[in-house]
Symmetry: D2
């Protein structure tokens, strides 16, 4: 009997980048096999893609509802166990809801939903189903991100008093300054993208990273967003002041008009005993600062790392692993959870991260619109 977990995929067909990312992540640790899917709402593309990547076409379904119906009709030992939801954002909620209610485990892309309210409904549903639910804040899977979390947990930085997370991209810059382009892109269309562009897409990653690493919760935010043009409805840049507690403060800086920046997620965290600098584009170097000792550069795969970090490294030091490996680590954690093996809560982001992320987005927009005032999360 095969030990691989039966994985279903909704969305992510053809050249979809997110499809590539999840598919490879599922392969990397030999834990999953794709047994069914709705890769694409257009039947011909759906079935052709299945053939192309060699998935059994008998379990390629016409649409999501058929997927659910047919899979539920299969005996449990054949039925798909976990479903990756890679559809456009507005479909995350209805699909995740139905999957949870039907007893599937779910790996859901972020943002979890399009509103905080929907997120709370999902959370309540999961409360009942008790299935495994992961939200793919991909960057939490990097070995050195995990290492930061464990070091903070173990008190290496002392009491954290300052958190500064940056997420700077420049991709929307040429678009935003061209009237025709900015009024036609779905990312800036509230109907399709929800209430936020920049904060919803990347600010939320930065926020999640802050909480993932520190184990602390943001209690309130004050956001200053930028829309740049009057005819543009969604933020493309923002600086958000964070309060964890009265004297523990932070800032999230997110931008899609940081011209020339690629995917500049950067972490700076400081505590009474030490600090961290880490950059997503150079993910295998973690800079550990202290009051009076030389800066140290932690690298993956060395024995001095925590188990959580080492568990996410496959090769010896000096063999760079990247973003696919980071996502694969999340899939590995989910596999352990599905198999009811022991795992570290740091192995994958959960429903709770997704729910808090939605609240963060809504409160940032509310803070900005109210004139840059504090809003509680």
């Amino acid at each position: 009997m095969a030990r691989k977990i039966r994985l279903g995929i909704i969305g992510g067909g053809g050249d979809s980048l997110i499809g590539v990312l999840h598919r490879i992540a599922s392969f990397i640790n030999d834990n999953y096999t794709i047994v069914g899917a709705v890769f694409n709402p257009i039947w011909e593309e759906n079935i052709n893609f299945a053939k192309e990547i060699d998935v059994d076409t008998n379990r390629i379904y016409l649409d999501f509802d058929t997927f659910i119906k047919e899979e539920m009709a299969l005996p449990k030992e054949e039925r798909i166990e976990v479903v990756s939801v890679l559809t456009p954002n507005f479909l995350h909620f209805p699909m995740a809801k139905k999957l949870i209610d039907s007893g599937f485990h779910v790996i859901c892309e972020k943002p979890l939903t399009t509103t905080f309210e929907e997120a709370l409904i999902l959370e309540a549903a999961l409360e009942k189903s008790k299935t495994v639910f992961a939200v793919t804040y991909t960057y939490t899977g990097y070995p050195m991100v995990r290492q930061m979390r464990e070091m903070i947990k173990n008190g290496v930085l002392g009491k954290i008093h300052k958190v500064d997370i940056q997420y700077y991209q420049g991709w929307i810059n040429p678009i935003i300054h061209d009237k025709e382009q900015r009024t036609n892109i779905w990312r800036l269309d509230p109907e399709k993208a929800g209430i936020s562009c920049c904060i919803g897409d990347i600010g939320t990653h930065a926020y999640n990273m802050a909480e993932y690493l520190t184990g602390m919760e943001v209690t309130s935010v004050l956001a200053d967003l930028n829309y740049l043009y009057e005819d543009n409805a969604l933020d493309i840049d923002g600086t958000i002041l964070l309060r964890f507690s009265e004297n523990v403060k932070g800032v999230v800086r997110a931008s899609q008009i940081a011209t020339g920046e690629e995917n500049g997620l950067q972490v700076k965290i400081y505590g009474t005993k030490g600090g961290f600098n880490w950059e997503q584009e150079n993910p295998n170097s973690l800079y550990v600062l202290s009051n009076d000792q030389p800066m140290q550069v932690y690298k993956p795969g060395h024995g001095y790392n925590s188990d959580l970090s080492l568990d996410g490294t496959k090769l010896p030091p000096g063999h760079p692993e990247g973003i696919f490996d980071s996502m694969a680590n999340i899939y590995l954690g989910v596999a352990k959870a599905i198999r009811q093996e022991n795992y570290n809560p740091g192995e994958f982001p959960t429903m709770r991260d997704g729910v808090r992320g939605m609240n963060f987005i809504e409160q940032c927009v509310a803070s900005h619109k109210a004139g840059n005032i504090w809003k509680d999360l």
Copy 2:
């Protein structure tokens, strides 16, 4: 006849770091000769230091008032031409005032004064005297900082829409967490340090850098400062939202509790056509970003640099110059101004920079104390 400018120094004796910095800066381009001073209020230390560094002891004065009186009694062609004011902050104002009124050129350490009101009085005095007045925002003297300014001026970045300046240090971290130390250090004593510690000392550098580089003016600020302990009266960390105009925004991030950071002044500026990344601790590399071309790394001394930048480089590419050279570039600019030679306004920060800096500090504290609201500059 010697062509060197006759320089007087107030303060900066003994092991004073600021004294070393200014003295070396004055030597570097062969423009100045130190002919008189009050290095120290204690006579013995004053005179001994003069002997140690070989300054004519006939023009070592007992105190500032004697300095003025005796120098004014000398014929103009022997009299000190320019005075470097390196005394504790609260003395900047009365000394600079008297020097300006007596017709001396002045090189004054920052912060210019202890209040915005004093700064305005100085500005008015200078209006009458028409002497040369420089405020030593040292970091503006780096060749690559100058290069950024010229490239922005020449439109290389297009229209600037985002400015992010960081100034992170960690030195106060061990002090602030020790009750005895934090209540005894002069930097945290409002009587001695004025209304701000972190913003006044380093936030103001970051703010000045933003205006120096972009040629734009900050119109309002919203500050969130951190004092960490109830018994601590002055900020030791702060994030300040900047508004240049409605859609041109920025942020200054300053901290003295960024544990393990040394002197982390970092510049990120983005415009419609490109962006800059620059770090003071690695001052000879300027990273120039654009929408779709490879990032470029500008280095000092190459022909592709602007005259303003090249003027601040003495050796061929690959021979790193540092902080002393940066200050020396400011002294060089002042020398040109004193000699009424042509110079680029970017060669040294002026009274206006000092005045605006004081306003910035006061409005940041006011914004924070009023509950993080916007304050106009």
Copy 3:
């Protein structure tokens, strides 16, 4: 009908790192499906590993000879098409020989064989079989390595006149200085490891990189190897002078006693018009130098890269891909060759690279033993 290529694997079972690397590489672009294997000479481990990773146990064979026999008995449209040879070095030759002679395509780990003579025999065999044969010099698959190759080919560097390739590791340092360890490790046992440790294992990568990138051939070598202890039979460090032609020179520097280095493969190449700096541990940044323009930093995924480079990048700029992706690019090239699609010769190293590599190793050892004299390749 499935379009995936039927892949067989010899070796690489259990925790084998090379097994993980090849398996993941085969998955990444959806081109291969593992249909048969001899993962391990011990039957129980062989079959258990097959079950663990969900490979059909009917095609898990007792040993290599059975593998060949049974697969050859299958109809061609079911038979394994390509075999990855991941066994200990001394088995590469006999297995590759039999596979070639039986008409299989082969993906063979490096070093190709244990002697140059064996390599020549393989080459002759391939000449007859006309099958596809790749030697996995993994690092040639990185997008920025491919970009260097294409830029050199297109004359961006002008005529190449200097090549400096480093491969520094430190892993053997604690072993070599411990008599018991150094006399027991298989890597330093000529019976098991052949005539060279350091040059055979990593020097050969550096040499291959030099030829892969420049398109030039090394004509002679002068090697100075280090054995450190009299009781140690194999080199653990070496500097090798390269001659491409009379005035085109180079150096390969390889070490396993570069204490603390992880996997420091570094490329420096210079020509009349420009130069390259690249480091394997930071594989996504290519530094492009020129006489008088700012250094440029090329990153993967941008439109300014060559097709060969872009073909090896799956996600947008800023999403770091790593060593698995590099190997996957090689597998992708092999897939194209097997399907008789068009491909760039830079997509995978061939028999010729393997053969030249063996010659290089032998001539380096010969040069050293003869007292550091030039040996022709």
Copy 4:
């Protein structure tokens, strides 16, 4: 009574870069005052330059011989104490010889002489005079270079077994490929430049660094130089194998055709316990490697540094000092020696370094010309 040392300068007038470097270095620590000079063989330029930089024109001499004669005629307490020799290379020997014989202390630019034989004569002369003699291998003055030396001395790296020093520049690249330029530049004219261009100018720095840092002596060399064109008489590139003892090996890599490189002096040293990476263009970061701990990054000015390193740092951590400061540290050491104060032998390179450097150059050329064979030093 002034405590500054009376400094004379031969050469280095006008825009001479070496003049700027030495003059600033002499100012930086308040130890020297320039009291006499022959800045230029052309009288008008000589005297004008003296006026420009405010040196007493009474002690500006017509030529070197007059300098000696007139200064020797002065009473010892007025006479110049130390002379910086900044003339073209071929004048170093006769001038240094006469200065030594006349009892002056000397600070001499490298290369010490134009032949090893001359160097030996100087060494013998110094043996008699017992004056202070420094050769300005400038880069040894960097705080982190000094830190490496002290750490090696204190056994932090264990027993050194591998030394790799690079010195790559690209400046001669556009010249060497242009027949007219390469046949006219003095650097490639054996009459003016001696027997070597690249090794004599920069290879010797790399070699000196190797010995300075490790405290070991190179016993033999095998050099492979490059001249690139038949009509070019002097090397512009070379790789030199070093032997310290049977199993302690190294390599010096020097080039002036490393197109686009600026001043790439780089140090890699490895021992049984650890290793160093250091780069002159980023002189304030020292990377300290070890077998199994995170890499450490040492920075100047911290308490964890050695006294020798701290003595060469004037400002707190994070305030970058550069090449002028490095040279100033050498001048500081010489001042201590002249005043017969205690000093660390690492504070300045001596006659011995200069002599060994000349031997190195000659043996490298000899090794190359003899067909790349070993030559003893």
